[in-house]
């Protein structure tokens, strides 16, 4: 689904991404974790074109991203939903209006384009938005102003906006960094539920390894199709595995938990569960399980 090949990016002469390779399969849920400043945001924003890499190639759904051509970039973005740490909602308007904005990319032609630009959406689209609000469990707030909502509720609205795009891929940049622990785990659960039930590929940046361990560990669906993973007694990796990505190049070997905390210049790639691929599984080191 997403393939990043040998990506380099410098800011003011400082190398932030230095030959990063990453591939994420269709339907996978992947968390990128690492210390702040390690380039997680830069990497994820290169996938929907808000950062233009100095070199390297990104393909989404088999199609290479053309950073120069605005129209083709827009077409790529239509398929990619983005979720932010600070929700990035229009605070003064209603929940429903914010969710409707997610449909704009799809409504970019003919009558749909004109009416959406004026501010009118078809009954069908509105119905869809309400349905999605129901799915993310915030239907009762549809007509409230966003600035009246709590952080967790705002993030649900932002997720609904992304779903309104009918995306194939969801990117999330620290979606729980501004939320309390309880809300954080609810939002992570919601993202994983979307990944599972709708089959939308998920790449999420998470800041703290702890929250990944706790939340991903707890919300792991015990009865996934990936039955080979349900080694019943191992806490986290029973259907999850972890690997980390070296900024200097490629996917590295498995490490002990303690290594995560020492890590200076690493981005960790956490694969909480598998549905379509198993190739990481063979690499799960026994030492890693011990450490958890």
């Amino acid at each position: 689904m997403v393939r990043v090949e040998n990506m380099h990016k410098r800011f003011n002469g400082k190398a932030v991404l230095n030959g990063v390779n990453m591939s994420v399969h269709k339907g996978e849920a992947v968390a990128l974790i690492g210390p702040s400043g390690s380039g997680k945001t830069t990497l994820i924003r290169a996938i929907n074109g808000f950062v233009v890499p100095d070199s390297g190639k990104v393909t989404v759904g088999g199609k290479g991203i053309n950073y120069r051509n605005k129209e083709s970039l827009r077409q790529t973005r239509k398929k990619i939903g983005m979720i932010y740490q600070l929700f990035n909602l229009v605070e003064r308007t209603s929940v429903l209006e914010n969710v409707m904005a997610g449909a704009l990319g799809r409504l970019d032609r003919g009558v749909d384009f004109i009416s959406s630009t004026i501010g009118f959406f078809s009954r069908q689209e509105r119905g869809k938005a309400l349905e999605i609000l129901g799915f993310v469990d915030i239907a009762d707030k549809a007509y409230e102003r966003v600035d009246k909502l709590s952080g967790g509720q705002k993030q649900r609205v932002a997720i609904a906006r992304a779903l309104m795009q009918e995306p194939e891929l969801l990117l999330a940049d620290e979606p729980i960094a501004n939320l309390d622990p309880k809300t954080s785990s609810n939002i992570l659960e919601l993202l994983l539920k979307i990944n599972m039930e709708k089959g939308i590929t998920l790449i999420t940046v998470l800041h703290h390894l702890d929250s990944v361990m706790d939340n991903f560990g707890r919300c792991l669906p015990l009865k996934t199709e990936t039955s080979i993973l349900t080694a019943k007694h191992a806490p986290l990796p029973k259907n999850a595995s972890m690997t980390f990505m070296n900024l200097k190049g490629r996917l590295n070997a498995w490490q002990r938990k303690s290594a995560f905390y020492k890590a200076g210049n690493w981005i960790f790639r956490v694969v909480p569960f598998y549905r379509h691929s198993g190739h990481f599984l063979q690499d799960v080191p026994s030492g890693y399980r011990d450490a958890v």
Binding site: Q75, T76, N88, A101, R106, T117
Partner: protein, 487 residues
């Protein structure tokens, strides 16, 4: 007003542009007449402001709830301030010219009065919003109420007062440029004369001088205001620069006195004449009231249509002057300068030009209001757009929306409440402005006002002023009520 349509509107702008072409190149011959008039203009602006400041100082405290001390006094002062504020400066100038005669003194007095209305209200608002803790502390020591004001209130409001004073100065310099239209001194007289004699190139030279003076004072005042707000005024790094600026201002103020032929004898002589004049206005003559009301309606219509056109011009103009929309410095800086020119030049100057271009009548007035306030709104809109939260804008871009959809669904909802509030504010000021357009024949009730004075029908003048006052106060109240609702 019913014949106002897109066609005539474009024709109007087109003939104005061809008139502006005739103004080039500006003709600076007979230059020796200009400097004294320019100095007189500056003198009127400065001394009107100073006089106004001196009177506003006690009046501001008297009309502030927390320092007035006496509820009756408070209500009287507040009523007086609101009354003074509702009368446009050029109208004061007319009244003084008629009662004490032509000249710079009438101009200074006119600006002093309009400044009192402006500053007393600002002062009172500043005083009402102070921190009450230091006040209580001084009261607890058993201090006299004047010493409370001196030691607890004044230190808190002083920087604000200074900022307002500079704003008033800025405002008054512009106003002083146009007082000459009614004979109250300054460059306006010469501009009026040259426009009347079709010497458009000479008129252009005067406009250039006006623009230079306005721009210099605008920049200096903005610089000092920023310093005062930041609290860096006269601090170590800027002491020499700030001090020399202050000295220059002081020297100009004193020197400019030379250009106001003040004769205290004359003023003393003029005072009873003001009284006589006011007396001759009573009782107001209401016989023509229905035609006056109709005129007032036309005047309000001018303000509304002018505002409407200004909004239409300002939306694209504001977008093009916003750094985060236009992206190219050449475009947004150029657009900002254009907006600034329209905003900075006095609207009666535009009125002279438009009347020359499209003829007498309300159409010229509508164009003036549209152009002048498109400058204001263009600037305000651009600032609002530059201050939008970029986060939702990016989020909507990330959905693959087109540019115009992004503007509509992420920028628009953020700036709309601000735009509405600016529009209401501008509508309010434009209805005020439309009442004086008639002074140069650009339509509305101002023309009849001037005529009634020229014909010594002061009782009719009184009625017209009452109608203007009533409308202006009503619109002011309505606008501030609505503004509270939209924000």
């Amino acid at each position: 007003m019913s014949h106002l349509d897109i066609g005539t509107l474009f024709e109007g702008f087109a003939s104005s542009i061809s008139l502006v072409r005739e103004m080039f190149p500006p003709d600076f011959a007979r230059w020796e007449k200009i400097p004294p008039l320019a100095m007189e203009t500056i003198a009127i602006g400065f001394w009107g402001t100073i006089l106004g400041m001196l009177i506003s100082f006690p009046l501001g405290f008297l009309s502030a709830k927390n320092t007035s001390g006496n509820i009756v006094l408070y209500n009287i002062s507040k009523g007086l301030v609101n009354f003074l504020r509702a009368i446009p400066d050029i109208l004061y100038a007319l009244l003084f010219v008629v009662s004490i005669g032509m000249g710079a003194v009438a101009g200074v007095l006119a600006l002093a009065f309009s400044t009192i209305g402006l500053l007393s209200k600002f002062y009172a608002e500043a005083v009402e919003s102070i921190d009450t803790k230091p006040v209580e502390a001084i009261e607890a020591t058993g201090g006299h109420s004047l010493s409370v004001i001196r030691h607890a209130v004044l230190p808190q409001v002083f920087p604000l007062f200074m900022g307002y004073n500079l704003y008033a100065l800025d405002h008054n310099i512009r106003a002083a440029m146009m007082l000459g239209l009614v004979g109250a001194g300054g460059l306006g007289v010469e501009l009026f004369f040259q426009m009347r004699s079709f010497n458009y190139q000479k008129a252009a030279a005067i406009i250039v001088i006006m623009f230079v003076i306005i721009t210099v004072i605008d920049r200096v005042s903005a610089y000092l205001r920023n310093r005062i707000i930041e609290g860096t005024f006269l601090n170590k790094q800027n002491r020499i620069k700030d001090f020399s600026l202050l000295s220059i201002i002081f020297i100009i103020t004193i020197l400019s006195l030379y250009f106001i032929p003040v004769s205290f004898k004359e003023i003393a002589h003029g005072m009873p004449r003001i009284w006589e004049f006011l007396n001759s206005m009573f009782p107001p003559d209401f016989s023509d009231i229905s035609s006056y009301v109709k005129l007032m309606a036309e005047t309000v219509g001018m303000g509304i249509s002018g505002t409407f056109i200004a909004v239409l011009i300002s939306v694209p103009m504001g977008m093009l002057s916003a750094r985060n929309m236009a992206h190219r410095p050449l475009i947004y800086n150029l657009m900002k300068e254009i907006a600034n020119f329209f905003r900075a030049m006095p609207e009666l100057m535009f009125a002279l030009i438009f009347v020359a271009a499209v003829g007498l009548g309300p159409f010229a007035g509508v164009l003036v209001i549209a152009i002048h306030t498109a400058g204001f709104l263009g600037k305000f809109y651009a600032e609002a757009i530059e201050n939008v939260d970029p986060k939702p804008v990016e989020a909507v871009e990330a959905t693959g929306a087109r540019f115009i959809q992004r503007i509509r669904h992420s920028v628009f909802p953020q700036v709309m409440p601000l735009f509405n509030s600016y529009n209401l504010y501008i509508l309010d000021r434009n209805i005020r402005a439309s009442t004086v357009m008639g002074i140069v024949g650009a339509g509305g009730i101002g023309f009849d006002l001037v005529m009634s004075m020229k014909l010594f029908e002061y009782q009719k003048t009184a009625t017209l002023i009452l109608i203007i006052l009533f409308t202006v106060m009503l619109v002011d109240w309505l606008s501030s009520y609505l503004r509270k609702k939209v924000v």
